[in-house]
């Protein structure tokens, strides 16, 4: 790590970016050392990258389950804490319970998914953690950790494929 520097190339084109990634991989730089920043979503299939595994579905399901439990508490447990009979209905009527279980599950699912995605998006990942130059344009930026001996070759690849900028980015706080 100490001898590896981080290089960045900025491209205007999906095709050239994918070609760059292929060549970098051929050079021996692994996918884990590469971060791609873009102003538009590109699927990992389009980039030729390995598919991304995400914990988001698990977080969503866990929150939904938490919602179900909360709903069960309010509809099935709470009425028994202080029993009040209303309108000749049973203490835990099935139809009202069903409606509320659905709504509580949805509420917690929604909240959990949002908090999950915010948490996951701010968690560190394997590639270099640097801010890109500017997200506002149609540009894709490729950041990668490059060991000293491969730097020259990497710079050649980037420039030959028409990267707009090739440089070592500074670490900047967001």
């Amino acid at each position: 790590m100490t001898e590896a520097t981080v290089l960045m190339g900025s491209f205007h084109d999906l095709e050239r970016t994918a070609e760059t990634l292929d060549r970098l991989r051929a050079l021996g730089i692994s996918d884990e050392d590469i971060t791609i920043l873009s102003s538009l979503p590109y699927s990992s299939r389009a980039m030729g990258r390995p598919p991304i595994a995400t914990k988001l579905p698990f977080i969503s399901l866990a929150s939904a389950f938490a919602g179900l439990l909360t709903g069960l508490f309010f509809t099935a447990v709470a009425p028994h804490l202080y029993v009040i009979r209303v309108g000749g209905q049973p203490i835990v009527p099935v139809p009202t319970t069903a409606v509320l279980l659905f709504e509580f599950t949805m509420l917690f699912l929604i909240l959990g998914t949002f908090l999950g995605v915010v948490f996951l998006n701010n968690s560190p990942s394997t590639g270099p953690q640097y801010e890109g130059a500017s997200l506002a344009d149609d540009r894709i930026e490729v950041l990668f950790r490059c060991p000293g001996d491969k730097q020259e070759a990497a710079r050649t690849i980037l420039q030959s494929l028409g990267a707009e900028k090739v440089y070592q980015p500074e670490r900047r706080e967001l």
Binding site: P41, A46, R49, Y82, I84, T113, D138, L174
Partner: protein, 492 residues
């Protein structure tokens, strides 16, 4: 191609001689022809972002005058009248026995209905893959959040002891009581909470990349605001992947929540023993009405936003055309449910049921009833089949305004009309909205417009990345001698 021609015999062009129709269209000319479609008229993202940021910061003198007027109406008519009502009591409203619920509840239902606009446009259209939703989702979702806030405020307004209204929230308290979860109002509370949280977060999630864009291009207080709200967005592959998964989850989840919310609001009425309200069709009837009034409200808001914020590049006639078609379809569906409800009550209902239908067709509700039918059925069905009408934003604005009036009248008739007639004729009564109620209702409209005007200048109203994504997916390809638009499915 030529092999096929030989097999089928002489080609038309051989028989009729050289004709213009055989001349192939060049790609450049095809692109020009199709450039009135937003997604086939690409511009650099840089330029689009600049347009959107300009519209954010375009707050001229007229804008501030309008905001000032709306603020006065909202503060005086809405907040002021409400404070007056809290001080003196519900008696300043026109409600009485048997009309215990009046215009405030009608307003509540109306605003919840308007809130269905956002979810329909951004969630259902996204799930169905309707590309015309791309530039309009955020404007619609902003409407949802603001109208839900107004709707919730009406729940507070209609409560006799407003200062005790918070008891309906489930929290451990010294009364030793959880609220009564068997009451339809509690279904309302949790459902509206789920929907409000859901649609606000659904507004927020796709906004994050645009906030990051705005963060990088503004200074001062705007920069600080966007920096905080962009939640550290850098645009990495992993972040995009998670964001798109989350948006997909939201889109799927918020659709059943949307249906359930207005069904539950309808059940505030249907679960009672009130004649005319106790109808099993109320659930679907209200949901349809909500989508109908929501789509119309989107047309209204888009028209105003487009003209005042100069968004003519993004919002084009094709979007109004698509929304107008939706308006027509939902006019049909609403008519179907309305007629079912009315007809069943009229034909097979008991004595008091006949009173309910008579009070609409011949009684005090008759002017509102016929106006409602005119705006909801006659006007849309008479005009929206015409392509010229659908491509004219001004006419659509007026038609949509009429639909909103008609849908408000529908709520008004159901809430205030049906309570006037009940099982025991000596309990029949009348209801006239008082000046306080009218002031609060108009003030709420001002509050909605005010909040929307402020929000639309705070956050980028067009999701540029979604529009650009759509433009990447749309190309022209040859199909025989013609060039046709093709849509690629870019998402994983």
């Amino acid at each position: 191609m030529s092999a096929m021609n030989e097999a089928t015999g002489p080609v038309l062009s051989d028989v009729e001689g050289p004709a213009e129709m055989a001349a192939p269209v060049s790609q450049a000319r095809a692109e020009e022809e199709y450039s009135h479609h937003l997604l086939l008229d690409p511009r650099p993202q840089e330029e689009m972002n600049r347009m959107v940021l300009e519209s954010l910061q375009r707050t001229g003198r007229e804008y501030w005058i309008v905001v000032a007027v709306l603020a006065v109406m909202a503060l005086g008519g809405f907040v002021g009248a409400w404070i007056y009502q809290i001080r003196w009591g519900m008696g300043v409203a026109g409600i009485n026995r048997p009309n215990y619920w009046g215009v405030f509840i009608a307003n509540f239902v109306f605003w919840v209905g308007i809130s269905h606009s956002g979810t329909f446009v951004s969630a259902i259209l996204r799930v169905l893959g309707a590309e015309f939703r791309r530039p309009i989702t955020r404007a619609a979702e902003m409407m949802t959040t603001v109208s839900l806030l107004v709707a919730v405020s009406f729940l507070g307004i209609h409560v006799g002891r407003t200062w005790r209204g918070y008891w309906i929230l489930p929290y451990p308290n010294q009364r030793g009581l959880w609220p009564n979860f068997r009451s339809p109002f509690l279904f309302d509370e949790i459902a509206i909470a789920a929907y409000l949280v859901g649609s606000t977060l659904y507004l927020y999630l796709p906004l994050i990349p645009d906030l990051a864009m705005a963060r990088d291009r503004t200074t001062g207080w705007r920069n600080r605001l966007y920096r905080a709200m962009a939640l550290g967005w850098r645009g990495t592959e992993v972040q995009w992947h998670n964001l798109q998964r989350a948006i997909a989850v939201f889109a799927f989840v918020i659709i059943p929540v949307m249906f359930s919310v207005h069904t539950i609001v309808a059940w505030d009425f249907a679960l009672t023993k009130v004649v005319g309200w106790h109808s099993s069709i109320f659930g679907p009837y209200f949901v349809t009405g909500a989508i109908f009034s929501g789509v119309s409200a989107v047309i209204n808001v888009l028209f105003i936003a487009r003209s005042t914020m100069k968004l003519h590049y993004f919002i084009r006639e094709e979007h109004f055309d698509a929304l107008a078609k939706l308006m027509l379809v939902f006019s049909f569906v609403w008519t179907y449910f309305f007629f079912t409800d009315f007809f069943v009550e009229w034909y097979g209902g008991h004595k008091i049921g006949h009173q309910i239908t008579a009070i609409q067709t011949m009684g005090p509700m008759a002017p509102f009833f016929y106006a409602m039918l005119f705006f909801n059925i006659v006007v849309p069905c008479a005009t929206l089949w015409s392509r010229r009408v659908r491509h004219s934003p001004v006419i659509l604005f007026l038609i949509a305004l009429g639909v909103n009036v008609g849908m408000y009248l529908e709520r008004f008739i159901i809430v205030t009309g049906f309570l006037r007639r009940n099982d025991l004729p000596f309990n029949w009564g009348t209801y006239t909205p008082s000046p306080v109620e009218i002031s609060i209702s108009l003030g709420s409209l001002a509050a909605f417009l005010l909040l929307y005007a402020l929000l639309s200048r705070l956050f980028p109203i067009i999701p540029v990345w979604e529009v650009r994504e759509g433009q990447l997916a749309h190309t022209l390809r040859r199909f025989g001698r013609a060039w046709v638009p093709t849509i690629a499915e870019l998402e994983e």
